[in-house]
């Protein structure tokens, strides 16, 4: 095992990058590439437009004289230009704002510091887009997706050892990669599983490729929390230690005086560049900062914006990569407590991906048929004086309010988007006028329908858990009327009820399908593919039950017309002693339960089950810390590909079954051979021993 201490990580290139104290005049120069090729007649107009963009995106006033546009002999521009800003800071701001900037439908700017280009005398002949060089992956980042057996991977973190293992059908251990002391506190996958993050004293390291090469480091001292953007392009980090400027001699630092005192940093994952740092919203040590809510910055699902709420005051939305405030000012909302971005449907996400990859073609009517919906946020404000509490749905960046609803006797609200952004449930915890009893309203917004109708379901008891079925029309609710609610004492197990709700398209309402009383469950884990759900008792020191539910099991053979809940079936209940975490694999076929020493579990280790609740493997391991399935990106198969596979499933099934049988018999024949050998050895020894005793 290789040992990876933070001291072993080579920071010399970072040092080089940030060590230079000498300010060259060339540091104020950037190269802007990707501009339209124009003749001399339209050059002025083009520069004017870029000046305007710089003003809008970066807030910079750039004189026309700052631009120098090389031309071909025929007077046509070459599509790139030199821009000389007033100082290096402006140059950086210009680069942040206009790099990757979509100038028009066909032109996206690329901006690089002039100094980066190196031998600029030969620039015109040998110009290579610098990022290409930097981004060129040493290995295929997604090689694990091409595993011939189609297996998933997971991380095991135990003691000082981090292992990345394959999930073998038979449960046999197969380590893909392992290192001791790979991380100093915990590990995290990026949303698509491409990148593996380890957390160290000096900052975050990202790893990837089949041999888990180190791809980048992000020097943020004492970093504690990290968050990736949806398409893994950006990384947000938080440290409890306010940033000190680069005068800090302890190590290389990307930070300047402007970053001093800030605690949040936003980075470009691929280039490693720092995009911007932010201070905390409140004064140091104020109420607002006592509890860190993470992620602090919420990414829009198209990765274009990230927003943060300043409780009681405003929501601030920033555009990437410029990191400029959207519309130059925050959205002032008196009293605002929280907001959430609406997720995208698969089709919307695909459209965003196409757009990012520049695959949108005007003549592609099929693609054009899926309009990219404007981003939507939902936020809520509590009752203040005579104003009722209110939930608002708003489009961004247009700031058009699409729906708002007043609420009364509100104690707290939680915003739950369904994963396609089709439905929004605002769980409103309410109190009676006397304030004594708690009950709950579910405000269900059907966002895709005209005028966004809202259905209200009143729940007589307190709701302790709510979870939408992924991409589905159902949700699970855990309620309790237990007087011990809110009391935190060891051994107190709340009596709860578990209810399944579903959307009835004939009635046009969400209706309860089934309720099961006398439970102690408190946590809901939906399979990422829906249909199957685990309902568990966590956080107790005496009960570690997990119920495995199938919501459609009997659907085929029962008259579901009259009883939409007829298919709901508790398959089995199992126990994992000491359980602290539950995680489904990306395919919804397996589920891992783990017991971490971080949560002072009484018996640390992990187990893997299938969705039927059959235990496939279990390991009780001292000092076990973390189990994480490696996420997968959305499939590369087109809808038509998928349809074709579904149609031919029978043929695939035959092949897989054959393959599985072969494997099983291979395993068992090996095992039988081993046992035969053991028996022969034993018998031979017994005969010798018996002869020996006869002779005495």
């Amino acid at each position: 095992m290789a040992s990876y201490d933070h001291e072993d990580i080579d920071y010399s290139d970072l040092e080089q990058r940030y060590a230079s104290q000498y300010v060259s005049p060339l540091d104020s120069v950037v190269i802007l590439d990707g501009a339209p090729v124009v003749g001399p007649d339209r050059a002025d107009k083009l520069i004017g437009a870029i000046v305007k963009s710089a003003s809008k995106e970066a807030g910079l006033t750039v004189p026309r004289s700052a631009f120098e546009m090389p031309t071909e002999s025929d007077g046509q521009s070459k599509g790139f230009m030199f821009v000389t800003l007033n100082n290096p800071t402006e140059a950086q701001a210009f680069q942040r704002a206009l790099h990757e900037f979509k100038f028009d439908k066909r032109h996206t700017f690329r901006v690089v510091p002039f100094a980066d280009v190196g031998n600029y005398e030969q620039l015109e002949e040998t110009y290579v887009e610098p990022p290409t060089e930097e981004w060129a992956p040493r290995e295929h980042f997604r090689a694990w997706l091409a595993d011939p057996a189609g297996r998933d991977q997971f991380v095991l973190y135990r003691g000082d050892d981090v292992q990345i293992a394959w999930n073998n059908k038979g449960g046999a251990q197969e380590i893909a990669h392992e290192r001791s002391r790979w991380t100093e506190s915990y590990t995290q996958w990026s949303p698509y599983g491409t990148l593996f993050a380890t957390i160290h004293g000096p900052g975050v390291a990202l790893w990837g490729g089949s041999s888990f090469e180190r791809l980048n480091r992000f020097a943020h001292p004492e970093v504690k929390l990290i968050d990736f953007s949806p398409f893994e392009r950006y990384l947000v980090t938080w440290s409890p230690r306010p940033i000190e400027a680069s005068t800090d001699t302890r190590g290389p630092s990307p930070f300047t005086e402007e970053d001093e005192g800030n605690q949040v940093a936003v980075w470009d994952v691929m280039t490693g560049a720092l995009l911007r740092t932010f201070p905390m919203v409140g004064e140091p040590n104020s109420e607002l900062n006592k509890r860190i809510v993470w992620p602090m910055f919420k990414w829009s699902p198209d990765e274009k914006y990230l927003g943060r709420v300043t409780p009681g005051q405003q929501i601030s939305i920033y555009e990437v990569p410029s990191m400029g405030l959207l519309g130059k000012k925050s959205l002032k909302v008196d009293g605002v407590v929280d907001f959430e971005w609406s997720p995208l449907s698969d089709k919307e996400r695909e459209a965003v991906e196409d757009e990012k990859a520049g695959r949108v073609k005007a003549d592609d009517k099929k693609k054009a048929a899926v309009p990219i919906r404007e981003n939507t946020i939902a936020f809520w404000t509590p009752e203040v004086q005579n104003q009722p509490a209110r939930v608002t749905l708003m489009h961004l960046p247009s700031r058009t309010t699409i729906r708002s609803k007043n609420l009364f006797n509100v104690h707290d609200c939680k915003i739950h988007w369904q994963s396609n952004g089709d439905y929004l449930c605002v769980k409103v915890d309410r109190h009676t006028k006397t304030g004594k009893t708690r009950y709950c309203n579910l405000e269900l917004f059907r966002v895709r329908e005209k005028d966004c109708p809202v259905q209200v379901i009143e729940i007589k008891d307190a709701v302790t858990a709510f979870a939408w079925e992924p991409k589905g029309q159902r949700f699970v609710l855990i309620t309790t009327a237990d007087p011990n609610l809110g009391q935190v004492a060891p051994g107190v197990l709340l009596k709860t009820s578990v209810s399944f709700y579903g959307y009835d398209s004939r009635k046009g309402d969400f209706l309860v399908q089934k309720t099961f009383d006398n439970k102690n469950s408190n946590s809901v884990y939906w399979s990422p593919k829906g249909r199957h759900v685990l309902i568990a008792t966590l956080g107790s020191n005496s009960k570690f039950d997990i119920d495995f539910w199938d919501l459609d099991l009997d659907r085929e053979d029962k008259a579901t017309e009259n009883d939409p809940g007829a298919g709901i079936r508790l398959i089995t209940t199992v126990e994992h002693y000491g359980l602290t975490d539950i995680e489904w694999d990306p395919s919804g076929r397996y589920v891992a339960t783990s017991a971490s020493t971080w949560m002072s579990s009484m018996e640390s280790g992990y187990a893997i089950w299938d969705f039927k609740g059959v235990e496939l493997q279990k390991h009780t391991l001292d000092k076990f810390k973390q189990f994480l399935w490696r996420p997968r990106p959305p499939t590369l198969l087109t809808r038509d590909d998928q349809k074709k596979i579904r149609k031919n499933l029978r043929e695939y099934s035959r092949q897989f079954e054959e393959q599985d049988q072969l494997e099983a018999s291979n395993v068992s024949s090996e095992l039988i051979a081993l046992r035969k050998r053991l028996i022969e050895e034993w018998n031979a020894w017994r005969r010798v021993a018996k002869d020996e005793i006869e002779r005495r």
Partner: protein, 344 residues
């Protein structure tokens, strides 16, 4: 089948033994009493009263005539099995931790504790089977191990040798002159050896240890890899979670059973769940765990197997003896297939 619960002891069990026919079960306990039971129904036949301290060890001869016992009151006693009468008492300077009849019923060995200036020893006494009460006071031979003290001992190879198991996990073989005949170079176990039980023919035996493992050893001579003669050869290892207190071989079946558990002190701090009080069955050739049976409410201190493998009994820290009878399925089951049944 549910076990028969024998509740005649007030304190923890220390050792239990079947007689050769398997119809009787003897039990020794910290409550100073030795009991004898009908093994098939758990009815108590009688007691052997006379010790004034924990009875650490008992053994019955092959004809169920004499019983020998050793106790923390520094006394070893010879009893008439049928009448319960104490025929003879030997007194020592320290407690007797282990006694055993030789295969021919002519001798007994006694392991004495090492304490405060007294070295531990293994003594062999000749027993005059006709003389009853008049037995020799003086041992035939005295073995005094240097180094780690002996915790268990057994006759082996047709009473040719005595094998001793030690506190530090070593195994030694002694001849009938009381000389060290063979010393296992590496420690056999990593920690204290808690029990040692012979195969029916005395050619191999099983040890259990606090190091969480049980091991099967052959009594040589075997040629080792270097061509030297090895008198103790490790044959199989069985490793589980709890420290083990006892292990036994199932005659006629390819299994061994072992019992143990976390010490009472450790258990109270971590909850009963952690005690690992289950009795485990292992395939003695494949070294695979084949079954786990619920044990007592505390660690299992001693296990004994019916000589005709009709069942087994466990004696617990909780003061109960549990007698299990195998059902027919167990006798007929050949879970690995008939061709994979080892010779005994």
């Amino acid at each position: 089948m549910r076990p028969i619960l024998l509740s005649g002891h007030e304190r923890s069990l220390t050792q239990i033994k079947y007689n050769a026919e398997g119809d009787l079960l003897f039990s020794a306990s910290k409550d100073h009493v030795i009991n004898v039971w009908h093994s098939h129904n758990g009815e108590r036949l009688g007691t052997y009263d006379g010790h004034n301290g924990t009875v650490w060890t008992i053994d019955v001869d092959s004809t169920s005539t004499f019983l020998v016992s050793g106790s923390a009151d520094n006394m070893m006693k010879l009893w008439n099995v049928r009448t319960g009468e104490c025929l003879k008492t030997w007194e020592f300077t320290t407690a007797i931790k282990r006694v055993m009849w030789s295969e021919d019923d002519s001798k007994i060995l006694a392991v004495t504790e090492q304490r405060m200036g007294y070295k531990g020893a293994v003594r062999v006494f000749e027993i005059n089977r006709e003389a009853g009460a008049t037995q020799s006071e003086e041992p035939l031979i005295t073995i005094t191990p240097s180094g780690s003290k002996a915790t268990v001992a057994a006759w082996c190879a047709l009473d040719q040798y005595i094998v001793t198991g030690h506190e530090n996990g070593t195994l030694n073989l002694w001849d009938m002159d009381g000389e060290l005949f063979y010393e296992k170079e590496d420690r056999a176990h990593q920690e204290l050896i808690t029990d040692m039980q012979m195969s029916p023919d005395g050619t191999y035996f099983i040890t259990s240890s606090k190091d969480k493992s049980a091991k099967i050893w052959s009594v040589g001579p075997d040629k080792n890899a270097q061509g030297d003669e090895d008198y103790l050869t490790l044959i199989k290892t069985f490793t589980g979670e709890p420290p083990l207190n006892s292990a036994a071989i199932l005659p006629g079946k390819p299994y061994i059973i072992c019992g143990g558990g976390q010490e009472a002190m450790a258990v109270t701090t971590t909850g009963a769940r952690h005690g690992h009080f289950e009795i485990r069955f292992w395939h003695r050739v494949f070294e695979e765990e084949v079954a786990r049976v619920k044990g007592g409410f505390g660690p299992c201190n001693t296990v004994a197997v019916h000589p005709q493998t009709k069942g087994y009994a466990i004696g617990g820290e909780d003061g109960y003896v549990r007698v299990h009878h195998f059902d027919d399925d167990f006798f007929n089951a050949k879970p690995y297939g008939a061709s994979l049944e080892p010779e005994d």
